[in-house]
Amino acid sequence: MPPTLPETPSAPPEPPPPQRAEAAEDAALVRRAQQGEIEAFDTLVRRYQERIYSVVYHMTSHHEDAADLAQEAFVRAWKALPGFKGDSSFFTWLYRIAANLTLNHLKQHRRRGHFSLNDLDLQAENDPDLLALVSERTPRRDAALRELQEKLNVALQKLSEPHRMVVTLHDIQGLRHEQIAEIMRCNVGTVRSRLHYARQQLQAWLADCLK
């Protein structure tokens, strides 16, 4: 019997997109970093490392690749920082670098087609959604969770890269359509249509899990 899902999601949300005050702080840090102050850039790294790692990881489903690409995204951002004019927010600009890097990586390694799944973190054990998923902690419950996670990742990997990127940025990371459009350099309508199509595909592929 396939595992069922709880009624209300209460998994820890991804860090929210930066607010206006945070964007102003970013601008100040960027100016200092542009003058060569590596400590200021360090602060930006700490601020965005989880979000950048997360988007790369959900695109690749591979921890080592995600770690490497996330670090490379920051290195490229540091190199390109003198040319950053602030036309968009630092957050959007950094996301665009990470997204392009990831899409480029996926194109080059399309044939590899494997991914590794990380263990569920400790917080997951206290998550009411997951506790409700299987009433008692048993090897069977762990196996069910792992199976569910694996099915989800397989389905996500079946999506094309742009569709997966939209799902990752919107449904997992909580970005707005406008932000995604800016990151992916497309219009909002394209983002909406990709999201709609990707959800339809996922629902079809995960029909057993969604009953």
């Binding site: 899902l5 709880p6 999601p9 998994a11 700490r46 490392q49 990380n118 997951a124 449904d171 969604l210």
Partner: protein, 174 residues
Amino acid sequence: MDPDVPPADRLQHLLALKHHEVPPPGFFEAFPERVRARIRAAGSTSATPWWERVRSWTGWRPALAGACVVVACGLWLWPRVQGPEAGPGRRAGGSGVPAGQGGLVEGATATAPATPWPAQAPVRRAEAVNSMAPQGLFTPGLGLRGALSPAAATTGVQGLVATGLPPATLPPTR
């Protein structure tokens, strides 16, 4: 699960599981230092080979990389395509004259040379050679009257020992 919940919402529940996929403990504590190390490494290896820089530069722009390859091939092929017709002293067309038979230098008359040099009347190869040799040193059909001294290999024309000719007939050297 409540059957009234629409499938889209159920999918949201399922995607929420992705939040639990986290890197190993301590990963984010070490992350900034790893980034710093890579920045330092990138700075110390700024003298990377030019092809590596081109590759990394064009890695993001496939169209640009293709254009560079086309331009490079064009530059390489251009002299080969243009050479046989435009160069002075080259034969035009496919009329073959066996080497060593003193044929005409056809490039001067068959096609206009693509050079700033003025067009000249056709000259036989032997005459052309004669006009290049110092007067009195060369007899047509016989070659040089003098023999090369052992020093000729190193001193060039000055090493010529003219037989039966005064040294004054040697061309002035620059």
